[in-house]
Protein backbone atom coordinates (compact mmCIF):
# COMPACT_ATOMS: atom_id res chain seq x y z
CA UNK A 1 0.00 0.00 0.00
CA UNK A 2 1.85 3.09 -1.19
CA UNK A 3 1.04 6.51 0.16
CA UNK A 4 0.44 9.11 -2.54
CA UNK A 5 0.00 11.97 -0.09
CA UNK A 6 1.88 12.27 3.18
CA UNK A 7 1.56 14.99 5.80
CA UNK A 8 3.73 14.98 8.88
CA UNK A 9 2.94 17.39 11.69
CA UNK A 10 1.87 20.09 9.24
CA UNK A 11 1.27 23.49 10.80
CA UNK A 12 0.14 26.64 9.04
CA UNK A 13 -0.44 29.82 10.94
CA UNK A 14 -1.53 33.17 9.60
CA UNK A 15 -1.01 36.44 11.45
CA UNK A 16 -3.25 35.74 14.41
CA UNK A 17 -4.85 32.39 13.64
CA UNK A 18 -3.58 28.85 13.52
CA UNK A 19 -5.26 27.23 10.51
CA UNK A 20 -3.48 23.87 10.71
CA UNK A 21 -2.25 22.64 14.05
CA UNK A 22 -0.12 19.56 13.52
CA UNK A 23 -1.84 17.54 10.80
CA UNK A 24 -0.45 14.09 10.01
CA UNK A 25 -2.04 11.74 7.51
CA UNK A 26 -1.27 9.39 4.65
CA UNK A 27 -3.50 8.86 1.61
CA UNK A 28 -3.26 5.44 -0.05
CA UNK A 29 -3.09 4.93 -3.79
CA UNK A 30 -6.45 4.30 -5.38
CA UNK A 31 -8.71 5.41 -2.55
CA UNK A 32 -11.23 8.20 -2.20
CA UNK A 33 -10.02 10.08 0.84
CA UNK A 34 -12.35 12.56 2.49
CA UNK A 35 -11.34 15.53 4.59
CA UNK A 36 -14.44 16.31 6.58
CA UNK A 37 -15.13 19.19 8.91
CA UNK A 38 -17.12 22.35 9.41
CA UNK A 39 -16.42 25.56 7.50
CA UNK A 40 -13.25 27.17 8.82
CA UNK A 41 -11.83 23.91 10.17
CA UNK A 42 -8.77 24.14 7.90
CA UNK A 43 -9.84 21.89 5.01
CA UNK A 44 -9.01 24.33 2.23
CA UNK A 45 -5.75 25.45 3.88
CA UNK A 46 -4.70 21.80 4.02
CA UNK A 47 -5.58 21.28 0.34
CA UNK A 48 -3.71 24.47 -0.61
CA UNK A 49 -0.59 23.05 1.05
CA UNK A 50 -1.02 19.76 -0.83
CA UNK A 51 -1.54 21.59 -4.14
CA UNK A 52 1.58 23.70 -3.68
CA UNK A 53 -0.41 26.93 -3.57
CA UNK A 54 0.61 27.47 0.04
CA UNK A 55 3.53 26.30 2.17
CA UNK A 56 3.16 24.99 5.71
CA UNK A 57 4.74 27.09 8.45
CA UNK A 58 6.34 23.85 9.63
CA UNK A 59 6.03 20.14 8.99
CA UNK A 60 6.48 18.01 5.90
CA UNK A 61 4.19 17.54 2.89
CA UNK A 62 4.81 15.02 0.15
CA UNK A 63 2.63 14.45 -2.91
CA UNK A 64 3.44 11.53 -5.23
CA UNK A 65 6.82 11.48 -3.53
CA UNK A 66 7.52 15.11 -4.43
CA UNK A 67 7.50 18.49 -2.72
CA UNK A 68 4.32 20.24 -3.93
CA UNK A 69 5.93 23.69 -4.07
CA UNK A 70 9.38 22.83 -5.43
CA UNK A 71 8.12 20.26 -7.94
CA UNK A 72 4.93 21.99 -8.96
CA UNK A 73 5.82 21.85 -12.64
CA UNK A 74 6.15 18.08 -12.60
CA UNK A 75 3.10 17.60 -10.41
CA UNK A 76 0.99 19.82 -12.68
CA UNK A 77 0.70 17.06 -15.30
CA UNK A 78 0.01 14.34 -12.72
CA UNK A 79 -2.33 16.12 -10.32
CA UNK A 80 -5.78 17.56 -11.06
CA UNK A 81 -7.19 20.34 -8.93
CA UNK A 82 -10.67 21.75 -8.49
CA UNK A 83 -10.51 24.90 -6.41
CA UNK A 84 -13.38 26.20 -4.35
CA UNK A 85 -12.99 29.67 -5.82
CA UNK A 86 -11.65 29.42 -9.32
CA UNK A 87 -12.04 31.55 -12.42
CA UNK A 88 -11.28 31.58 -16.11
CA UNK A 89 -10.40 34.42 -18.44
CA UNK A 90 -13.68 36.36 -18.59
CA UNK A 91 -16.26 36.00 -21.39
CA UNK A 92 -15.08 32.60 -22.71
CA UNK A 93 -17.53 29.81 -23.49
CA UNK A 94 -17.32 26.39 -21.85
CA UNK A 95 -15.95 24.85 -25.05
CA UNK A 96 -13.36 27.59 -25.52
CA UNK A 97 -12.20 27.18 -21.93
CA UNK A 98 -11.75 23.44 -22.31
CA UNK A 99 -10.04 23.99 -25.66
CA UNK A 100 -7.59 26.34 -23.93
CA UNK A 101 -6.85 23.98 -21.06
CA UNK A 102 -6.52 21.00 -23.41
CA UNK A 103 -3.72 22.86 -25.17
CA UNK A 104 -1.88 23.35 -21.87
CA UNK A 105 -1.53 19.60 -21.15
CA UNK A 106 0.58 17.11 -23.10
CA UNK A 107 -2.09 14.37 -23.23
CA UNK A 108 -5.58 15.61 -22.46
CA UNK A 109 -8.65 13.42 -22.87
CA UNK A 110 -11.28 14.55 -25.41
CA UNK A 111 -13.32 17.17 -23.58
CA UNK A 112 -16.73 16.63 -25.18
CA UNK A 113 -17.28 13.14 -23.69
CA UNK A 114 -16.05 14.54 -20.38
CA UNK A 115 -18.76 17.22 -20.50
CA UNK A 116 -21.34 14.48 -21.21
CA UNK A 117 -20.15 12.47 -18.23
CA UNK A 118 -20.62 15.57 -16.11
CA UNK A 119 -24.02 16.29 -17.62
CA UNK A 120 -23.20 19.64 -19.21
CA UNK A 121 -22.68 18.58 -22.83
CA UNK A 122 -25.36 21.04 -23.92
CA UNK A 123 -23.48 23.97 -22.42
CA UNK A 124 -20.38 23.92 -24.65
CA UNK A 125 -21.43 27.08 -26.49
CA UNK A 126 -22.55 28.97 -23.37
CA UNK A 127 -20.36 31.52 -21.69
CA UNK A 128 -18.95 30.26 -18.39
CA UNK A 129 -19.88 33.48 -16.57
CA UNK A 130 -23.54 32.96 -17.54
CA UNK A 131 -23.85 29.40 -16.18
CA UNK A 132 -25.60 28.50 -12.95
CA UNK A 133 -23.45 27.83 -9.90
CA UNK A 134 -23.77 24.08 -10.26
CA UNK A 135 -22.94 24.10 -13.97
CA UNK A 136 -19.89 26.27 -13.40
CA UNK A 137 -18.80 23.90 -10.63
CA UNK A 138 -18.92 21.04 -13.10
CA UNK A 139 -16.81 22.98 -15.62
CA UNK A 140 -14.07 23.26 -13.01
CA UNK A 141 -14.37 19.58 -12.17
CA UNK A 142 -13.93 18.91 -15.90
CA UNK A 143 -10.76 21.05 -15.90
CA UNK A 144 -9.46 19.04 -12.94
CA UNK A 145 -10.00 15.71 -14.75
CA UNK A 146 -9.08 16.83 -18.27
CA UNK A 147 -5.54 15.42 -18.25
CA UNK A 148 -6.53 12.13 -16.53
CA UNK A 149 -4.56 12.92 -13.38
CA UNK A 150 -3.37 10.08 -11.16
CA UNK A 151 -4.32 12.19 -8.15
CA UNK A 152 -7.26 14.60 -7.97
CA UNK A 153 -7.90 17.23 -5.31
CA UNK A 154 -11.55 18.23 -5.20
CA UNK A 155 -12.52 21.05 -2.85
CA UNK A 156 -16.22 20.99 -1.88
CA UNK A 157 -17.08 19.53 -5.26
CA UNK A 158 -20.82 19.22 -4.78
CA UNK A 159 -21.51 22.62 -3.24
CA UNK A 160 -24.16 24.38 -5.33
CA UNK A 161 -25.35 21.11 -6.89
CA UNK A 162 -28.92 19.90 -6.54
CA UNK A 163 -29.43 16.44 -4.94
CA UNK A 164 -29.69 14.58 -8.26
CA UNK A 165 -26.55 16.21 -9.73
CA UNK A 166 -24.78 15.54 -6.47
CA UNK A 167 -25.47 11.82 -6.77
CA UNK A 168 -24.35 11.90 -10.42
CA UNK A 169 -21.14 13.63 -9.33
CA UNK A 170 -20.51 10.91 -6.77
CA UNK A 171 -20.83 8.38 -9.57
CA UNK A 172 -18.30 10.35 -11.63
CA UNK A 173 -15.81 10.46 -8.78
CA UNK A 174 -16.18 6.72 -8.21
CA UNK A 175 -15.52 6.19 -11.92
CA UNK A 176 -12.33 8.23 -11.63
CA UNK A 177 -11.25 6.11 -8.68
CA UNK A 178 -12.16 2.89 -10.48
CA UNK A 179 -9.95 3.92 -13.39
CA UNK A 180 -7.06 3.89 -10.95
CA UNK A 181 -6.77 7.45 -9.76
CA UNK A 182 -6.59 8.57 -6.16
CA UNK A 183 -9.09 11.22 -5.04
CA UNK A 184 -8.71 13.56 -2.08
CA UNK A 185 -11.82 15.60 -1.45
CA UNK A 186 -13.11 17.97 1.17
CA UNK A 187 -16.73 18.15 2.16
CA UNK A 188 -18.95 19.28 4.95
CA UNK A 189 -21.77 17.02 3.73
CA UNK A 190 -21.72 13.97 5.99
CA UNK A 191 -23.87 12.01 3.57
CA UNK A 192 -21.29 12.62 0.85
CA UNK A 193 -18.42 11.37 2.99
CA UNK A 194 -20.40 8.30 4.11
CA UNK A 195 -21.53 7.41 0.63
CA UNK A 196 -18.36 8.21 -1.31
CA UNK A 197 -15.20 8.05 0.79
CA UNK A 198 -13.15 4.92 1.42
CA UNK A 199 -11.56 6.65 4.38
CA UNK A 200 -12.31 9.88 6.14
CA UNK A 201 -10.22 12.30 8.18
CA UNK A 202 -12.29 14.46 10.49
CA UNK A 203 -10.71 17.85 10.94
CA UNK A 204 -11.69 20.42 13.54
CA UNK A 205 -9.86 23.62 14.53
CA UNK A 206 -6.93 22.61 12.32
CA UNK A 207 -6.45 19.19 13.91
CA UNK A 208 -7.29 15.71 12.67
CA UNK A 209 -9.52 14.37 15.43
CA UNK A 210 -10.14 10.98 13.82
CA UNK A 211 -9.14 9.08 10.68
CA UNK A 212 -10.54 5.76 9.47
CA UNK A 213 -13.22 4.16 7.32
CA UNK A 214 -16.71 5.42 8.07
CA UNK A 215 -17.94 2.11 9.59
CA UNK A 216 -14.85 1.93 11.81
CA UNK A 217 -15.32 5.52 12.97
CA UNK A 218 -18.96 4.88 13.72
CA UNK A 219 -18.16 1.68 15.60
CA UNK A 220 -15.51 3.44 17.64
CA UNK A 221 -17.08 6.79 18.39
CA UNK A 222 -20.82 6.48 17.89
CA UNK A 223 -21.83 2.86 18.33
CA UNK A 224 -25.24 3.90 19.61
CA UNK A 225 -28.25 3.76 17.33
CA UNK A 226 -31.91 4.31 17.99
CA UNK A 227 -34.65 1.70 17.45
CA UNK A 228 -38.33 2.59 17.66
CA UNK A 229 -40.93 -0.10 18.24
CA UNK A 230 -44.66 0.41 18.04
CA UNK A 231 -46.39 -2.18 20.22
CA UNK A 232 -49.85 -3.52 19.42
CA UNK A 233 -51.03 -2.69 22.93
CA UNK A 234 -49.82 -0.81 25.97
CA UNK A 235 -47.90 -3.43 28.02
CA UNK A 236 -49.39 -4.21 31.40
CA UNK A 237 -46.19 -5.39 33.07
CA UNK A 238 -42.82 -3.72 33.28
CA UNK A 239 -40.64 -4.61 30.31
CA UNK A 240 -37.36 -6.13 31.41
CA UNK A 241 -35.15 -5.14 28.50
CA UNK A 242 -32.31 -3.32 30.19
CA UNK A 243 -30.37 -6.50 30.87
CA UNK A 244 -30.05 -7.40 27.15
CA UNK A 245 -26.40 -6.89 26.14
CA UNK A 246 -26.00 -3.74 24.04
CA UNK A 247 -29.16 -2.05 25.18
CA UNK A 248 -28.57 1.38 26.61
CA UNK A 249 -31.42 3.71 27.31
CA UNK A 250 -35.00 2.35 27.28
CA UNK A 251 -38.00 4.62 27.10
CA UNK A 252 -41.66 3.59 26.96
CA UNK A 253 -44.49 6.03 26.32
CA UNK A 254 -47.81 4.34 25.79
CA UNK A 255 -47.30 1.97 22.85
CA UNK A 256 -44.08 3.66 21.69
CA UNK A 257 -40.89 1.99 22.80
CA UNK A 258 -37.59 3.74 22.07
CA UNK A 259 -34.30 1.97 22.68
CA UNK A 260 -30.82 3.41 22.24
CA UNK A 261 -28.08 0.86 21.94
CA UNK A 262 -25.64 -0.85 19.59
CA UNK A 263 -26.80 -1.76 16.12
CA UNK A 264 -27.26 -5.48 16.84
CA UNK A 265 -29.83 -5.29 19.64
CA UNK A 266 -33.00 -5.24 17.56
CA UNK A 267 -33.38 -9.06 17.09
CA UNK A 268 -32.72 -9.69 20.79
CA UNK A 269 -35.32 -7.10 21.81
CA UNK A 270 -37.86 -8.56 19.38
CA UNK A 271 -37.39 -12.09 20.71
CA UNK A 272 -37.65 -10.90 24.34
CA UNK A 273 -40.90 -9.06 23.48
CA UNK A 274 -42.19 -12.23 21.77
CA UNK A 275 -41.39 -14.25 24.89
CA UNK A 276 -43.54 -11.79 26.86
CA UNK A 277 -46.36 -12.21 24.31
CA UNK A 278 -46.11 -8.60 23.16
CA UNK A 279 -46.78 -8.09 19.48
CA UNK A 280 -44.87 -5.42 17.60
CA UNK A 281 -46.66 -3.64 14.76
CA UNK A 282 -43.78 -1.50 13.51
CA UNK A 283 -40.01 -1.26 13.89
CA UNK A 284 -37.76 1.47 12.61
CA UNK A 285 -34.08 2.01 13.26
CA UNK A 286 -31.82 5.00 12.86
CA UNK A 287 -28.24 3.96 12.48
CA UNK A 288 -25.55 6.32 13.65
CA UNK A 289 -23.44 8.10 11.05
CA UNK A 290 -20.57 10.51 10.72
CA UNK A 291 -22.76 13.28 12.08
CA UNK A 292 -22.91 11.35 15.37
CA UNK A 293 -19.17 10.67 15.21
CA UNK A 294 -18.50 14.38 14.83
CA UNK A 295 -20.89 15.15 17.66
CA UNK A 296 -19.20 12.58 19.89
CA UNK A 297 -15.72 13.89 19.08
CA UNK A 298 -16.34 17.63 19.30
CA UNK A 299 -19.48 17.96 21.35
CA UNK A 300 -21.30 19.92 18.65
CA UNK A 301 -23.00 19.40 15.33
CA UNK A 302 -21.00 19.93 12.17
CA UNK A 303 -23.33 22.59 10.84
CA UNK A 304 -23.63 24.51 14.10
CA UNK A 305 -22.60 28.14 13.84
CA UNK A 306 -19.84 29.86 15.75
CA UNK A 307 -17.21 27.19 15.51
CA UNK A 308 -14.54 29.84 15.97
Amino acid sequence: MTAVVVCEDVRRSFDTTVALDGVSLAVRRGEIFGIVGPNGAGKTTLLNCLEGLDSPTSGRVEVLGLDPVRHRAELATRVGVQLQSAALPPRLTVGESLELYSALYPQPQPWRPLLSTLGIEGKAKDRVDRLSGGERQRVFVALALLHRPELAFLDELTTALDPQSRRDMWGTVEQVRDQGATVVLTTHYMEEAERLCDRVAIIDHGRIVALDTVPALVAQYAPVGTARFVLSAVPTDDLSLADIPGVGHVQLEGRDLVIRGSAGVVPAVLSRLADDNITVTDVSTTSPGLEDVFLALTGRGIHSEGTH
Binding site: A73, L83, A86, A87, L88, E96
Partner: protein, 248 residues
Amino acid sequence: MKAYRALVTALWRSQRREPVGLFFAFAFAPALVLILGLIFGNEPRPEFGGRGMLDSGLPGFASLVLAMTGVLQVPVSLLTLRDTGALRRLELTPLRRSTFVAATLTVNFLVGMVGMVAALLVGVVVFQVALPSTVLGVLLACAFGLVVFLALGFALAGLYPSVGAATGIGNVLMILLMLTSGAWTPIAVLPEGVRRVFAYSPVRWFVELVQPLWDGGATSARPLLLLAGLLVVSALVGRLLFRWEPTR
Protein backbone atom coordinates in the same frame (compact mmCIF):
# COMPACT_ATOMS: atom_id res chain seq x y z
CA MET B 1 3.86 26.57 -28.90
CA LYS B 2 0.46 24.89 -28.73
CA ALA B 3 -0.12 26.48 -25.33
CA TYR B 4 1.02 29.89 -26.58
CA ARG B 5 -1.34 29.82 -29.57
CA ALA B 6 -4.29 28.63 -27.52
CA LEU B 7 -3.69 31.30 -24.91
CA VAL B 8 -3.37 34.08 -27.50
CA THR B 9 -6.67 32.93 -29.02
CA ALA B 10 -8.43 32.73 -25.65
CA LEU B 11 -7.13 36.09 -24.39
CA TRP B 12 -8.04 37.77 -27.65
CA ARG B 13 -11.58 36.34 -27.50
CA SER B 14 -11.85 37.43 -23.90
CA GLN B 15 -10.74 40.95 -24.75
CA ARG B 16 -12.73 41.39 -27.92
CA ARG B 17 -16.01 40.54 -26.18
CA GLU B 18 -15.66 43.57 -23.94
CA PRO B 19 -17.00 46.29 -26.28
CA VAL B 20 -15.97 49.34 -24.24
CA GLY B 21 -12.41 48.14 -23.79
CA LEU B 22 -12.21 47.19 -27.43
CA PHE B 23 -13.44 50.61 -28.53
CA PHE B 24 -10.81 52.35 -26.42
CA ALA B 25 -8.05 50.08 -27.66
CA PHE B 26 -8.86 50.41 -31.35
CA ALA B 27 -10.79 53.60 -31.82
CA PHE B 28 -9.86 56.10 -29.10
CA ALA B 29 -6.74 57.50 -30.76
CA PRO B 30 -8.12 57.55 -34.32
CA ALA B 31 -11.36 59.10 -33.06
CA LEU B 32 -9.39 61.79 -31.26
CA VAL B 33 -7.43 62.59 -34.42
CA LEU B 34 -10.71 62.83 -36.30
CA ILE B 35 -12.50 65.01 -33.75
CA LEU B 36 -9.64 67.40 -33.01
CA GLY B 37 -8.83 67.49 -36.70
CA LEU B 38 -12.40 68.49 -37.55
CA ILE B 39 -12.53 71.12 -34.77
CA PHE B 40 -9.15 72.75 -35.19
CA GLY B 41 -8.36 71.80 -38.78
CA ASN B 42 -4.91 71.24 -40.15
CA GLU B 43 -4.24 74.74 -41.49
CA PRO B 44 -0.77 76.18 -40.89
CA ARG B 45 -0.61 78.11 -37.61
CA PRO B 46 2.24 80.06 -36.08
CA GLU B 47 2.10 78.13 -32.76
CA PHE B 48 2.83 74.90 -34.61
CA GLY B 49 5.82 76.45 -36.29
CA GLY B 50 3.84 77.49 -39.32
CA ARG B 51 2.51 73.97 -39.89
CA GLY B 52 -0.85 72.35 -39.31
CA MET B 53 -1.70 70.82 -35.93
CA LEU B 54 -1.66 67.28 -37.34
CA ASP B 55 1.26 67.91 -39.70
CA SER B 56 3.39 68.85 -36.75
CA GLY B 57 2.14 66.38 -34.19
CA LEU B 58 0.46 63.26 -35.56
CA PRO B 59 2.86 60.92 -33.66
CA GLY B 60 1.65 62.58 -30.46
CA PHE B 61 -1.76 61.05 -31.09
CA ALA B 62 -0.24 57.64 -31.72
CA SER B 63 1.53 57.96 -28.37
CA LEU B 64 -1.88 58.00 -26.65
CA VAL B 65 -2.26 54.36 -27.62
CA LEU B 66 1.02 53.63 -25.86
CA ALA B 67 -0.14 55.43 -22.75
CA MET B 68 -3.46 53.63 -22.69
CA THR B 69 -1.89 50.22 -23.29
CA GLY B 70 0.82 50.73 -20.69
CA VAL B 71 -0.92 52.36 -17.76
CA LEU B 72 -4.46 51.03 -18.19
CA GLN B 73 -5.04 48.12 -20.56
CA VAL B 74 -2.22 45.78 -19.58
CA PRO B 75 -2.32 46.33 -15.79
CA VAL B 76 -6.11 46.25 -15.55
CA SER B 77 -6.50 43.10 -17.66
CA LEU B 78 -3.65 41.32 -15.83
CA LEU B 79 -4.96 42.28 -12.41
CA THR B 80 -8.47 41.21 -13.38
CA LEU B 81 -7.12 37.78 -14.29
CA ARG B 82 -5.08 37.67 -11.08
CA ASP B 83 -7.70 38.88 -8.63
CA THR B 84 -10.54 36.75 -9.99
CA GLY B 85 -8.37 33.65 -9.52
CA ALA B 86 -8.01 32.90 -13.24
CA LEU B 87 -4.21 33.13 -12.99
CA ARG B 88 -4.14 30.86 -9.95
CA ARG B 89 -6.08 28.24 -11.90
CA LEU B 90 -3.60 28.55 -14.80
CA GLU B 91 -0.73 28.25 -12.33
CA LEU B 92 -1.92 24.71 -11.54
CA THR B 93 -1.36 23.60 -15.14
CA PRO B 94 2.00 22.93 -16.81
CA LEU B 95 1.78 26.41 -18.38
CA ARG B 96 5.08 28.25 -18.00
CA ARG B 97 5.19 31.82 -16.81
CA SER B 98 7.16 32.94 -19.85
CA THR B 99 4.54 31.44 -22.18
CA PHE B 100 1.76 33.22 -20.34
CA VAL B 101 3.60 36.55 -20.39
CA ALA B 102 4.43 36.19 -24.07
CA ALA B 103 0.80 35.44 -24.96
CA THR B 104 -0.59 38.40 -22.98
CA LEU B 105 1.93 40.77 -24.49
CA THR B 106 1.28 39.44 -28.00
CA VAL B 107 -2.44 40.17 -27.78
CA ASN B 108 -1.89 43.66 -26.39
CA PHE B 109 0.85 44.33 -28.92
CA LEU B 110 -1.37 43.48 -31.87
CA VAL B 111 -4.29 45.51 -30.54
CA GLY B 112 -1.99 48.45 -29.80
CA MET B 113 -0.34 48.38 -33.24
CA VAL B 114 -3.72 48.42 -34.95
CA GLY B 115 -4.78 51.40 -32.81
CA MET B 116 -1.61 53.34 -33.58
CA VAL B 117 -1.60 52.66 -37.29
CA ALA B 118 -5.31 53.58 -37.44
CA ALA B 119 -4.61 56.92 -35.74
CA LEU B 120 -1.79 57.68 -38.15
CA LEU B 121 -3.88 56.62 -41.16
CA VAL B 122 -6.76 58.91 -40.18
CA GLY B 123 -4.30 61.80 -40.18
CA VAL B 124 -2.84 60.84 -43.54
CA VAL B 125 -6.05 59.88 -45.31
CA VAL B 126 -8.58 62.36 -43.89
CA PHE B 127 -6.38 65.36 -43.21
CA GLN B 128 -3.76 64.90 -45.91
CA VAL B 129 -0.80 64.79 -43.55
CA ALA B 130 2.26 64.04 -45.64
CA LEU B 131 3.45 60.45 -45.46
CA PRO B 132 6.53 59.95 -43.29
CA SER B 133 9.93 60.14 -44.90
CA THR B 134 10.51 56.57 -43.75
CA VAL B 135 7.37 54.47 -43.29
CA LEU B 136 9.33 51.48 -42.09
CA GLY B 137 11.29 53.59 -39.60
CA VAL B 138 8.08 55.03 -38.14
CA LEU B 139 6.46 51.58 -37.87
CA LEU B 140 9.54 50.13 -36.19
CA ALA B 141 9.65 53.04 -33.76
CA CYS B 142 5.93 52.51 -33.01
CA ALA B 143 6.54 48.82 -32.38
CA PHE B 144 9.51 49.59 -30.14
CA GLY B 145 7.54 52.20 -28.19
CA LEU B 146 4.71 49.72 -27.74
CA VAL B 147 7.09 47.07 -26.39
CA VAL B 148 8.43 49.60 -23.89
CA PHE B 149 4.95 50.47 -22.69
CA LEU B 150 3.87 46.82 -22.54
CA ALA B 151 6.79 46.22 -20.19
CA LEU B 152 5.76 49.31 -18.21
CA GLY B 153 2.24 47.90 -17.96
CA PHE B 154 3.63 44.63 -16.70
CA ALA B 155 5.65 46.41 -14.03
CA LEU B 156 2.63 48.47 -12.97
CA ALA B 157 0.51 45.30 -12.73
CA GLY B 158 3.03 44.02 -10.19
CA LEU B 159 3.03 47.32 -8.29
CA TYR B 160 -0.70 47.96 -8.11
CA PRO B 161 -2.36 46.19 -5.19
CA SER B 162 -5.75 45.69 -6.85
CA VAL B 163 -7.89 46.21 -9.93
CA GLY B 164 -9.42 49.27 -8.24
CA ALA B 165 -6.00 50.82 -7.70
CA ALA B 166 -5.00 49.99 -11.27
CA THR B 167 -8.06 51.78 -12.62
CA GLY B 168 -7.79 54.77 -10.29
CA ILE B 169 -4.06 55.40 -10.44
CA GLY B 170 -4.04 54.34 -14.08
CA ASN B 171 -6.51 57.05 -15.03
CA VAL B 172 -4.45 59.72 -13.30
CA LEU B 173 -1.30 58.55 -15.07
CA MET B 174 -3.23 58.42 -18.32
CA ILE B 175 -4.26 62.09 -17.99
CA LEU B 176 -0.68 63.11 -17.15
CA LEU B 177 0.66 61.23 -20.16
CA MET B 178 -2.06 62.65 -22.42
CA LEU B 179 -1.28 66.21 -21.33
CA THR B 180 2.41 65.74 -21.93
CA SER B 181 2.01 63.90 -25.23
CA GLY B 182 1.76 67.05 -27.29
CA ALA B 183 -1.49 65.89 -28.86
CA TRP B 184 -3.44 68.53 -26.95
CA THR B 185 -0.97 71.31 -26.50
CA PRO B 186 1.50 72.89 -28.87
CA ILE B 187 4.68 72.16 -26.92
CA ALA B 188 6.53 74.94 -28.69
CA VAL B 189 4.44 77.73 -27.13
CA LEU B 190 4.69 76.37 -23.56
CA PRO B 191 6.93 78.15 -21.03
CA GLU B 192 10.44 76.81 -20.66
CA GLY B 193 9.77 75.37 -17.16
CA VAL B 194 6.75 73.36 -18.27
CA ARG B 195 8.62 72.05 -21.26
CA ARG B 196 11.44 70.91 -18.99
CA VAL B 197 8.93 68.93 -16.89
CA PHE B 198 7.31 67.48 -20.02
CA ALA B 199 10.70 66.22 -21.10
CA TYR B 200 10.47 63.60 -18.33
CA SER B 201 7.32 62.07 -19.78
CA PRO B 202 7.94 58.73 -21.51
CA VAL B 203 5.38 59.56 -24.21
CA ARG B 204 7.46 62.66 -25.08
CA TRP B 205 10.47 60.39 -25.55
CA PHE B 206 8.42 58.39 -28.00
CA VAL B 207 7.23 61.51 -29.85
CA GLU B 208 10.80 62.85 -29.96
CA LEU B 209 11.87 59.54 -31.47
CA VAL B 210 9.15 59.34 -34.11
CA GLN B 211 8.63 62.99 -35.12
CA PRO B 212 12.09 63.39 -36.72
CA LEU B 213 11.64 60.06 -38.50
CA TRP B 214 8.36 61.37 -39.86
CA ASP B 215 9.66 64.81 -40.83
CA GLY B 216 12.95 63.49 -42.15
CA GLY B 217 14.85 65.64 -39.67
CA ALA B 218 17.89 64.81 -37.64
CA THR B 219 17.33 61.98 -35.15
CA SER B 220 19.02 61.89 -31.77
CA ALA B 221 19.92 58.90 -29.61
CA ARG B 222 18.55 60.48 -26.41
CA PRO B 223 14.88 59.37 -26.71
CA LEU B 224 15.93 55.92 -27.89
CA LEU B 225 18.22 55.46 -24.91
CA LEU B 226 15.63 56.75 -22.46
CA LEU B 227 13.00 54.38 -23.83
CA ALA B 228 15.46 51.48 -23.78
CA GLY B 229 16.26 52.30 -20.15
CA LEU B 230 12.57 52.35 -19.27
CA LEU B 231 12.16 49.00 -21.04
CA VAL B 232 14.94 47.36 -19.05
CA VAL B 233 13.81 48.73 -15.69
CA SER B 234 10.15 47.86 -16.36
CA ALA B 235 10.97 44.36 -17.53
CA LEU B 236 13.05 43.71 -14.43
CA VAL B 237 10.44 45.12 -12.05
CA GLY B 238 7.66 43.27 -13.87
CA ARG B 239 9.52 40.00 -13.70
CA LEU B 240 10.38 40.48 -10.04
CA LEU B 241 6.85 41.35 -8.97
CA PHE B 242 4.82 38.97 -11.14
CA ARG B 243 2.42 36.88 -9.05
CA TRP B 244 -0.21 34.31 -9.96
CA GLU B 245 -1.97 34.61 -6.63
CA PRO B 246 -4.76 37.10 -5.95
CA THR B 247 -4.14 39.81 -3.37
CA ARG B 248 -5.16 38.49 0.00
